[in-house]
Subunit: 325 residues, 2 copies
Amino acid sequence: MAGKENTEDIVCNIQKGDKRFASKLMSMVEDGNSEGEECLRILRGIPGQAHVIGVTGWPGVGKSTLISRMAHFFLNMSKHVGIIAVDPTSPLSGGSFLGDRERMRGIDGDERLFIRSMATRGHAGGIAADTNAFVRIMEAMGKDVIIVETVGVGQDQVSVCYVADTVVMTVIPGMGDYLQALKAGIMEVGDIFAVNKADRKGVDEVVTDLRMIIGMSARKNGWNPPIVKTTAVSNAGIDELMIQIENHRNHVTRGGKLLSKRIAAVKLEVVETLKSRLFHLIELEEKLDDYAQQIFEGKIDRFNLVETILKEAEIVKQVRRELHD
Amino acid sequence: MAGKENTEDIVCNIQKGDKRFASKLMSMVEDGNSEGEECLRILRGIPGQAHVIGVTGWPGVGKSTLISRMAHFFLNMSKHVGIIAVDPTSPLSGGSFLGDRERMRGIDGDERLFIRSMATRGHAGGIAADTNAFVRIMEAMGKDVIIVETVGVGQDQVSVCYVADTVVMTVIPGMGDYLQALKAGIMEVGDIFAVNKADRKGVDEVVTDLRMIIGMSARKNGWNPPIVKTTAVSNAGIDELMIQIENHRNHVTRGGKLLSKRIAAVKLEVVETLKSRLFHLIELEEKLDDYAQQIFEGKIDRFNLVETILKEAEIVKQVRRELHD
């Protein structure tokens, strides 16, 4: 009963926009707490209408500065803003780029802004799953815009991009070779391309490279990804970027694609949660050494090991208990 | 019975070094074929002594050219060489870098060389798991050296690095910012640092950056990662790189760390195989839309969904069948 009161307390305070309770619930979700899951379930039932913007790109391209500029812009438009930093190297997640953190200073005391960073390891529910959970919690807080910062390279980080309605892929001059090599991956993820640090040499080359990659790719649901030159440090190009972000949101909403995007994000959650819960239920961690030794020595093959594990595991014990009830 | 003959046939021919049978088994493993798993189990029981070298680094740093130089070197020393290209952008995996493929031409007809590329999607057993399986198959073929090429960014690609005994992390001039940002990740993975394209401007800066990062990090089991300047295109620095690779192998073997490295790689296999087999057994793919819809609407929380899935799933049916036997 105390649990139920606690749940109601958390849900109610988060709906009022309370950062402390939101933080608490996020930690509960990260830790795999089942009361946290119940809160999350209730919050999902409450309609929200946040625009979820992913900002992705390799470390060093200036995502955090770009995000602080975007946050400024939205706050000036009287919007409530949430930021989720998934990139482990992000200054937003308490990294070492003090210069960047300085730039946040103007807004980080703003009551309407809520920043939450996320460890990339030890997530009970998986990174993308927990990111989507955090997004839903921030939406329930009444955030109008939720910005998710991610590195966007590698399967787990790319997954995080699917949580967003609009993805801004950030690149810098000199990255042409990398872009060419990652063609397909870039087009899969990016809705808008920001060429940041556009005051540097080589900006036209990278724009040309991007144009070629975009030109060779099929349009994404009738959307032709625009390229915007930005210099986040001096705020140059941010207005144009914000217009394109708004354009994309309208495009997605108009086509009724928002719902299917969100269902796709939940699918990721289901897959990741299943994985981690199953591993928990079969007590994988305790027994992994022994399993690995058996495989290493060729005593059993991997598929038969899985069957054996399932038979031995807690899952089976639970089923047995039920069947005997 | 035909299946058993087939298994013996595959195992026997692979031990003779037959590339066609090795390719066949690798495809079986990728497809999640259980006969393939049985072959793999038998092959694991056969002692091998290959040195597994991972070459990792972002697209564009010249890993493939470096690997072709390394392969040349080993073939000249009368070694049998296997190459596994996990990087989807690798010219070794049939990409578009014809220039690089030209460079392979001198050796790619060599009977002692076997190159196999790996798709990064659709792996029944997970990328790292299948990479380790491929390594074991190549070892059973009698390969003395197995080189694994991977992008090494993102959890799934980093996992592939753990399959190797020695990891050469490849960087190029101009990457200093990225290296700084990825400090911890770089040290976790790299045993040796190759600064490739060392004829380019900025080579000394990147060496200085690396020295600083290495200096600030704890030594890896008493090993101080060396930095080698290479220009793979003109073969410069390759001899020095090969000496360092040999040094690291001796270091690992001397300390008895090879076995624990290999067991760790098998653990990865167990985890990945478990994941994919479990998802198969619970028929996740067919039911995912429905599950996602329930979560999205807040009808059930994620943990309770997992419990429900387990109860409904094939796993349970199997257990029931057994209990009734």
